[in-house]
């Protein structure tokens, strides 16, 4: 009689195989190579966009105008239009920066990590996750520039031959940040574009309008699907994915070091780099969820973004949320264990001080609400997941606000304490940046292939070959 406890015995293996066979396929519906191309390129090549797209685009365009209009006024008038002042010299500007860059972290990470670990469910979500990365990173990059008192000198961060014979301070995390964002933005763009080239070729070949043929023809760079080109592209994607994963960790670690290198209580902690990376993954996965649920509904893409995709994504969010919750506990523990009266005061002030509602709201949004994801029923309910991911995004913004403002507003000397209250320009730039993000995403889903058609064809081939 076979010992069923041994993992390699046939009796033990069989239930696992049966369970795997019972799992719903990642590509649902009766698809062929042609229906995949027709469905995904149809979203782009249809002559008339849906009514909801026009309404959303108009709203986001308006907010984009608010965003750039507010920045224009900021450049004209100076940072005095914001509510920040000594001692709170970083407020919404840097909160927005960290929030956006964290959202940008997980797009390329999720697609690179799923690529490296050969997870087939990454195929359909990776494309727009990469787009999300590029857009969020672009927006994030605006904030450090506009938070400068003299934004027209932002390029002084770059080492370049100049008549002043000046060089950047290489030991400053702010300079590291410049290099990190530069490398990450360019790598993400290349990773994204390399993935899209064959899909642009499909659009070129299926377009019936001259302008579209020309535009997608140029974007496809003359891709013709030669086997050796595919092989090189595959090898390039694998290498870029391998580089992207450590890069992501380094970029957000540097963002954490922007704070940890200062001696402000509440910031001066070695836990910051990993804590920031965990928070970045968490908020980015939540943003992927925030985008995928409406997309799936709007374009009827349930066959490509199946419940299994949402379930997997929800599990990732839950796992990252637990790492983050652990980090919060560790932060409190380290404050107590440091025996430093300023650190202890900052920790208590966060919970009991004037910004306590922000602290407790973020604990609710980021630690309590995601626990609903333990339930399988919740993980299978798309709109519930959408709601939870929105709550997480709000909570992660509050977390950055709490980290930044509470540390600054009461530091060492009580005579230098103060409060921060946002002005309408603070809000206008925050809301405007969200509108601008939506504007870019709407243009992307309308004019670029939002799911990788070639990867869907590979998935279909695998499913057909599987017994």
């Amino acid at each position: 009689m076979p010992d069923i406890r041994r993992p390699d015995s046939p009796a033990a293996r069989e239930p696992a195989e049966q369970a795997r066979a019972r799992r719903p396929p990642l590509l649902a519906g009766a698809h062929t190579y042609d229906t995949i191309s027709a469905k995904i390129s149809g979203i782009v090549l249809t002559t008339r966009a849906a009514g909801w797209w026009h309404i959303a685009f108009a709203a986001c365009s308006l907010l984009t105008l608010v965003f750039f209009g507010s920045i224009g006024y900021l450049f004209y008038e100076g940072v005095g239009i914001w509510g920040l002042n000594v001692p709170v010299v970083w407020a919404f500007d840097i909160t927005n920066y960290v929030w956006w860059i964290a959202i940008a972290m997980s797009g390329t990470f999720i697609s690179a990590a799923l690529h490296l670990t050969r997870q087939p469910w990454g195929g359909s979500i990776s494309r727009f996750a990469e787009a999300m990365t590029v857009f969020a990173l672009t927006i994030a990059g605006i904030f450090p520039i506009i938070h400068l008192g003299r934004p027209w000198f932002f390029y002084w961060l770059m080492p370049y031959p100049n008549v002043m014979s000046l060089w950047p301070q290489w030991r400053s995390p702010l300079v590291w940040d410049f290099f990190a964002i530069l490398a990450y933005l360019l790598l993400s763009l290349m990773f994204w574009y390399l993935g899209m080239i064959p899909d642009f070729a499909t659009l070129r070949d299926r377009a019936r309008v001259r302008g579209a043929q020309l535009a997608y023809g140029l974007l496809a760079l003359g891709w013709r699907g030669e086997a050796r080109h595919w092989q090189r592209r595959q090898s390039a994607q694998l290498l870029l994915a391998g580089l992207a994963v450590p890069l992501v960790v380094s970029v957000h670690s540097v963002v954490g070091l922007d704070f940890a290198a200062g001696n402000t209580p509440g910031w001066h902690s070695t836990i910051f780099p990993p804590f920031f990376v965990a928070g970045a993954m968490f908020s980015g996965f939540a943003m992927v969820m925030t985008i995928v649920v409406p997309l799936r509904h709007a374009f009827d893409l349930g066959e490509f973004f199946t419940e299994r995709h949402l379930d997997n994504l929800a599990k990732l969010i839950l796992a990252m949320g637990l790492v983050l919750a652990y980090s919060y506990v560790m932060e409190l523990f380290m404050a107590w264990y440091s025996a430093d009266r300023y650190e202890i005061y900052t920790a208590l002030n966060r919970m009991r001080g004037p910004y306590a509602p922000v602290y407790w709201a973020l604990i609710l949004c980021v630690v309590v609400v995601p626990q609903a994801l333990w339930s399988r029923r919740v993980r299978r309910a798309p709109w519930l997941l959408f709601g939870i991911s929105l709550v997480i995004n709000v909570g992660m913004w509050l977390e950055r606000f709490m980290l930044i403002v509470t540390s600054e507003h009461r530091d060492f000397l009580p005579s230098a304490w103060g409060m921060f209250y946002p002005t309408r320009w603070d809000w206008a730039i925050l809301v405007g940046s969200i509108g601008f993000f939506g504007w870019l995403l709407l243009l992307f889903v309308r004019y670029a292939p939002l799911i990788s058609m070639s990867e869907m064809r590979e998935l279909l081939t695998q499913q057909q070959e599987a017994p």
Partner: protein, 178 residues
């Protein structure tokens, strides 16, 4: 120019990835060497069937990474020691603070080498190619698989090659103008 000289080759169309791989193997076995295979996705074993695969990209990535990393480190080192030494509290120049920018530029150098290496070694961008002259070739980016035997192949011989391709159960075989 004579009609025969302006021929790029013969293009055979297949319905499945498996059919294309079989055809490539058969063509290689028949002695053809100047082959091109077109598919709308990565087909396992297809590039290998066409001959030795290009494995230069990892080497290019290493070179790009070394150039980026060494370049960034040297620039910073010269800046802190020779060109612009900063004396802050009497601290001597040290290297650990130079590592983050060095790491980022290593990754960027490697990534640029990979991206441009993959494109340029495939001789892309190239907006024109003779196979685009074939009216049905647009399906190569959607649901059809093609094998092209180039006229420049020493074994190429108009009718005989056409018969050979037809014997591989191609959906159709057409001549591609150069």
């Amino acid at each position: 120019m004579k009609r025969g000289e302006s021929v790029h080759g013969l293009l055979a169309e297949f319905a499945s990835p498996g059919g294309l791989v079989q055809a490539v193997r058969a063509a290689r076995a028949a002695g053809y060497r100047r082959l091109e295979a077109y598919a709308p996705m990565v087909v396992d074993g297809l590039a290998e069937a066409l001959g030795p695969i290009d494995n230069r990209l990892p080497g290019l990535a290493l070179a790009g990474g070394l150039i980026g990393g060494i370049g960034a480190f040297l620039m910073q080192w010269l800046s802190v020691t020779v060109v612009y030494p900063l004396n802050i509290g009497g601290r001597t120049p040290s290297w650990p603070g130079l590592i983050p920018a060095t790491f980022e530029m290593t990754v960027l150098g490697a990534a640029l080498a990979i991206f441009f290496g993959a494109l340029l070694r495939s001789r892309l961008p190239r907006l024109y190619h003779p196979v685009f002259n074939d009216d049905g070739f647009a399906a190569a980016s959607s649901d059809r698989f093609f094998l092209c035997i180039e006229a420049a192949d020493p074994e190429y011989e108009g009718e005989r090659t056409r018969e050979f391709l037809e014997s591989l159960q191609a959906l159709r075989v057409t001549q591609v103008e150069a």
